[in-house]
Symmetry: C2
Subunit: 376 residues, 2 copies
């Protein structure tokens, strides 16, 4: 504790920025290596509580938080233990970033677009409407400079460092209590949908509500909302949404490669032995890959169950809904950029990356998928 | 050394199988945990040479081998060092598996379809023609039971344990010294293409050669071959193939989510402290994610350079080539399964997984990509 107080906030922020720079170059700062060597014989026992935004029964997204904890324990011979806690235990589900920022909780597992009210740039951490697929999001974050940009922004604004730790791929378009045949059918609909996607839906006439995952079922059941998006077949099935809504739409255009992230208070991060920091980073890579793998492996059978025994009607969004949403998203980005220079600066780089990688994926990747789609 | 000799081959194989089982359940065997705790105060310094199949100038695939080494060092406070060596330094580039099997070299970084001559099941480690995309391959390996099956097979047949450690996504269809307007144009063509894909090409009239990456340029230059596939724009550009062939085709249908893997001799693996094994597994996840991210981030600009200043003609494979290749691949799988019960058993599970996941990806994922493709 003395040490943390000695470092103080100003020193910590400087340290954080230099850490971000070193990570960009893949280098551990020499001072920290020395400290690690000196401390190696007696690495400390550390126990962290982890705040999450998820019900603990979700053996995909909550499981991915547990994966981070398990990997860190395995890499540190059990000396650094992290205990993921269900939404609400340490913080309200949509306030994980806030408690990590304050330092009340050292680490969180959440989705950054829940914090749109804290600044538009949070959208880049999870994903933007009509933006990057899972692979494109990882390419931008890890190798396109995205994570470096976000590290600086999160350090400045939230005293947090964050790492991608899961992805859903293109999600389903959500649950509706009636058929949507055109944009006009959206007017007046009360829908749970967070972030930029919610703002887009508002422009299409939807009355948007921001609810946490655990609140959706009851809101659909008692008619407080008419529609909700969550993730995809496997997790939606666990949430029992098919028992309170019948129409299941696709595709989710809101964040086609939505990243989950771990967020760590920077004071706590700076005080960790370098080996523990490396363990956390390493665990986040694994969780990122594994959550996507689990969704991909389990969604197919879950979707079949929802249709075969769940009585769900599966439908694509009408083309005019997709077009109207994309146009509204484009307008929203222009207006947000005009009002927020930081968003504008990141959006410019992000857009260029998106256009280039979508052109590339339109070639070999889409060429293959289109052939396979036609031939089967 | 005494300890290794004491363990002996039979004991090691039993240990390996139990390790594979425990990993499947995500558990470290209790005896090993005890050993780790006992040894923790004095974890040994270990230095391994790593044989690779790659020229060292490839800052994508060779870089991903270095990533494994860097991560392991960072997680073990520099005590466990791995030194990736260029193709040919420790072993011929297409004999990495063989030297790791013998124990001459403890660890390798290679692609399993190079070892098709050692058994058809090696194809599942990298990928099959008209098979799984990168995401699908990861889903099958990690969460669809694929890696568990392969761990058993590799332990039995090669005394090796392997982990996915990189992916290329759908590759380009390769370099040709003439235009390919139909299947007939393939007849008599001499082409470098390994594994099942080579056998498919043989059925389309191609004279197939198995060359390592480092041998392709010269073979194209001196006319020993007329065509070759490697990876994609970024790496192909580094190989200078555009200076010796003009026609660049897409998509690569041979292994649409080709995995690179680390292969570790099982005796060496069994003798590692558990923390070092965990570090290797963790590093492999990271490398898997990061190689894909690097290819995705760098391919777009590389492709533009190849076209704009490299004078390359970019063309899709004609539909009849794709159809003939898919039919030949299907026949080949049927014949291989009839002759090889182990292949048949894995192929049955793999096919069911492929069909289910491709149906799921045909919905939300393809729905989104098709919309984006149309609207831009």
């Amino acid at each position: 504790m003395e040490r943390r107080q000695f470092l103080g906030l100003a020193a910590t922020s400087a340290a954080a920025l230099s850490i971000a720079g070193c990570e960009q170059a893949g280098i551990i700062p020499p001072a920290q290596v020395e400290r690690a060597v000196a401390e190696d014989a007696s690495l400390p026992n550390i126990e962290w509580q982890m705040a999450t935004s998820w019900p603990a029964n979700l053996d995909s997204i909550f499981w991915s938080a547990q994966l981070v904890a398990d990997r860190v324990a395995a890499l540190t011979d059990g000396k650094f233990t992290i205990l993921p806690r269900a939404a609400g235990e340490l913080a309200p589900p949509l306030e994980v970033l806030n408690v990590v920022e304050k330092g009340t909780v050292p680490i969180g597992h959440t989705v950054s677009h829940y914090y749109a009210n804290r600044g538009a740039i949070t959208a880049f951490g999870s994903g933007l409407p009509f933006g990057l697929t899972a692979r494109q999001q990882n390419a931008w974050l890890y190798e396109g400079g995205g994570l470096d940009i976000l590290h600086e922004a999160y350090a400045d604004q939230f005293n947090i460092i964050q790492f991608p730790a899961g992805n859903s791929g293109v999600q389903m378009g959500g649950w509706f209590n009636k058929e949507i045949n055109s944009v006009a059918d959206l007017a007046g609909l009360k829908m749970r949908i967070p972030g930029f996607a919610g703002q887009v839906m508002e422009r299409l006439g939807v009355a948007v509500q921001l609810l946490s995952g655990g609140e959706i079922f009851q809101a659909l059941q008692n008619g407080a909302i008419d529609a909700a998006e969550w993730v995809g077949p496997y997790e939606d099935e666990q949430m029992n949404f098919h028992t309170v809504a019948s129409f299941y739409y696709y595709p989710g255009w809101w964040d086609p490669g939505s990243s989950v992230e771990i967020q760590i208070n920077l004071d706590e991060w700076s005080n960790l032995p370098p080996q523990y920091r490396e363990a956390l980073k390493s665990a986040a890579y694994e969780a990122n890959l594994m959550l996507m793998a689990r969704f991909d492996a389990r969604n197919p059978a879950a979707l079949n169950r929802l249709i075969d025994t769940g009585g769900v009607t599966l439908l694509p969004f009408p083309d005019d809904v997709m077009k109207a949403a994309e146009e509204a998203a484009s307008e929203l980005f222009v207006e947000t950029a005009a009002a927020d220079p930081e968003f504008a600066s990141i959006f410019k780089e992000w857009s260029a990356f998106r256009d280039a990688i979508q052109a590339w994926h339109g070639l070999a990747e889409r060429g293959y998928l289109q052939y396979v789609g036609r031939s089967r």
